[in-house]
Amino acid sequence: MTTETLHDLRGDQPRFQGLEAGHRACQGCGQALAARLTLEAAGPDVVLANATGCLEVFTTAWPDSAWRVPWLHSLFANAASVAAGMEAALKMQGRDVKVIALAGDGGTFDIGFQALSGMLERGHNVLFVCYDNEGYMNTGVQRSSSTPHAAATTTSPAGVARIGKRHLKKDILSIVAAHHIPYAATASVAYPTDLRKKVRRAIQVDGPSFLQVHAPCPLGWGHGGELSIEVARLAVQTGLFPLIELERDVLIGAMPIRRVRGIKDYLRPQGRFRHLFADDPRAREELAHLQALADHNIEVYGLRGDRPDTLDSEGADTVHRGGRHFA
């Protein structure tokens, strides 16, 4: 009789890889990592609807595909609607397969916004995952409604007359949660265990669920690929990207920040905020503004606390079912 612990057994079994290595993402791509983690947690019994964007492009150029789960890319704006149709069909067929829609912030906040709202309102059993890299990175770093205030993009450049994007980052989570869906949460690639747990939780919801995953884009944000995780972690630790969970529009959890960092720590490594460190009164004003936004998040969500961080260990949150059978 073997005396291996459950933990060892899990460790021996290969993780389910829904998204294989070898795709064409940039080094340090937050979205690729986020998609891989999502599928590790979701497992093989899924069908994916993918909006147009980097994820679709770098995973599939014909005749190759990095996906080991059924995957459909239709258009930029319709991932939520295509997912809704898949779900309706699978429901009628009596099949227990979860439908996941994948989209960037363009396909979620902007062009796909109406379809998303419709899907949420109709209560489809779909998990919608938004990989939020805060801009139109696939087309060469243009501003989206998710781009943070004062960030420079190719369509919101910083110059003599402008200080980068003039508008606030859209609060998509609040808008989504206002549909009173069973579960909506933010996550970050810097906290993979937290991300996988949230995927598991969202998957188990019978109804619409939503995840906004903060996913750095080294190209668009202007930092080294090796810094992606660090930059993503700083977004959380400064309070600019709070990790929270909502059930039917009620806050049920927030990841505490044990040591709150100033926003400059997050902004400084990123080229898109370089102009905020110039000797310019407007830059100082924008920094103060961004700090105020972070402070506001910390206050509103009660992020300051001594409670421990979510344990970032490999464990029960990962699905090992299927394993190499699908590899």
């Binding site: 995957w71 459909l72 609607s81 295509v82 809704a84 069909a89 397969v97 309102e121």
Partner: protein
């Protein structure tokens, strides 16, 4: 025994006989009655399907696309602005080679806003890669709807069943609805070989680079051309089952000795048939182009045998160019021996009634030179004075 049914109601019942598992639609005049009837069939438990009441036509097309890819028969219906709003998805559906059926309750396109019938909407998406079948009457709409599912599923191509809005959708008349057994014997259960399944995962809708793109497009083109065979076969098999005569590609009605032909798409056909009886001295062959996509070149040539003059009636405009259908007809007939001269007019735009009295005007018009297409039923009183004075409008 024929039943008294409104066109929309009959189409809804025909759709229900094909047992789609997912129906998604957004209401738009004059398509609404179709979807309302389907909704009531679902509410009464007479149709077991997931009815998704979406927030836009863009999503309606996207939902049925997702459903069909996930392995269920799916149906949608729209018109006019709805067709244009879903146009991006229409190209996508056909490019992915997904079998779907959609009813287009043909209506004008804004501006100016018009809720009334013409065929500008479906003509606007003629190159979307869908099969387009036009119905001359409501019985044909019922029969074509049922055939459309089989054609779509055998060809892995979407089929648009074009039905003149109001003129057909809102007309009550005696119609034969087939039995469920008859439909079941004709239409096998939905099976899509590329259905998305976790046990056999595939990737659909991948990026395709220049090294493969042309070949994919060419295959799509050839699939549409090859669909002609399935359209013919579906008509023959359905005709055998229901006992009604059906012309699959081009319907020709009139004597072989006729030298004059009039070609139209849709419900104007019957009005022209009635009008012809008043002018029995002039033999005229009436042609109904049922299949506009694929464009049936050979069948059209055969139907035009012996004609010296062919009037092509458009229910849409290609502003700044000649007629849409007329240009294609001209091109199809070019180079064959004794090809008829093609005269081209738009008629009945934006719901303008096409009266019996249009017929003698068409017969008279073939004697006048018309270098460019024009609208034959224009009312000069409503033109600005300058346009009235130039007299450019055809008789």
């Amino acid at each position: 025994m024929p039943q008294a049914l409104e066109g929309s109601q009959a189409i809804a019942r025909a759709v229900a006989l094909c047992q789609p598992q997912v129906v998604a639609a957004y209401p738009i005049t004059p398509q609404t009655h179709i979807v309302e009837h389907i909704a009531s069939l679902v509410a009464d438990g007479r149709l077991r399907c997931e009815l998704v009441s979406v927030e836009s036509e863009f999503s309606a097309a996207s939902v049925v696309l997702g459903a069909a890819c996930a392995g269920s028969r799916a149906y949608t219906a729209t018109a006019s602005q709805g067709i244009l709003l879903m146009s991006e998805v229409l190209f996508n559906i056909s490019g992915l080679r997904v079998p779907l059926v959609m009813t287009c309750a043909n209506r004008a396109v804004s501006a100016p806003l018009s809720i009334w019938n013409d065929q500008q909407d479906s003509m606007a998406v003629r190159d979307a890669g869908w099969i387009q079948l036009y119905c001359a009457d409501n019985q044909e709409a019922v029969d074509t709807t049922i055939q459309a599912f089989r054609i779509a599923e055998r060809c892995e191509l979407p089929v648009m069943v074009c039905v003149d809005g109001f003129t057909l959708t809102h007309t009550l008349e005696p119609l034969e609805l087939p039995s469920q057994d008859m439909v079941d014997g004709f239409l096998p259960p939905y099976r899509f070989v590329r259905a998305l399944d976790p046990l056999a995962p595939i990737s659909m809708g991948t990026l395709v680079g220049p090294e493969y793109f042309t070949e994919v497009r060419q295959m799509h083109h050839e699939a549409l051309l090859a669909a002609e065979k399935e359209i013919v076969a579906a008509a023959a098999d359905w005709s055998a089952a229901c006992g009604r005569e059906l012309a699959p590609l081009v319907r020709a009605d009139g004597p072989p000795e006729a030298r004059i032909g009039i070609l139209t798409l849709g419900s104007v056909f019957g009005t022209l048939q009635d009008a012809r009886e008043r002018f029995a001295d002039t033999p005229v062959r009436l042609l109904h182009l049922r299949s506009f996509r694929p464009f049936p070149v050979e069948a059209l040539r055969a139907a035009c045998q012996g004609l010296s003059e062919l009037v092509v009636l458009e229910r849409a405009l290609a502003p700044g160019a000649d007629g849409i259908v007329g240009t294609e007809v001209r091109s199809a007939l070019m180079g064959i021996d004794g090809a008829p001269r093609v005269h081209n007019f738009a008629v009945g735009l934006g719901g303008r009634d096409v009266p019996l009295s249009i017929y003698p005007r068409l017969l008279a018009a073939i004697h006048e030179p018309h270098p460019r297409m024009g609208t034959i039923d224009i009312d000069p009183r409503y033109l600005p004075p300058k346009a009235r004075a130039t007299g450019e409008t055809p008789p």
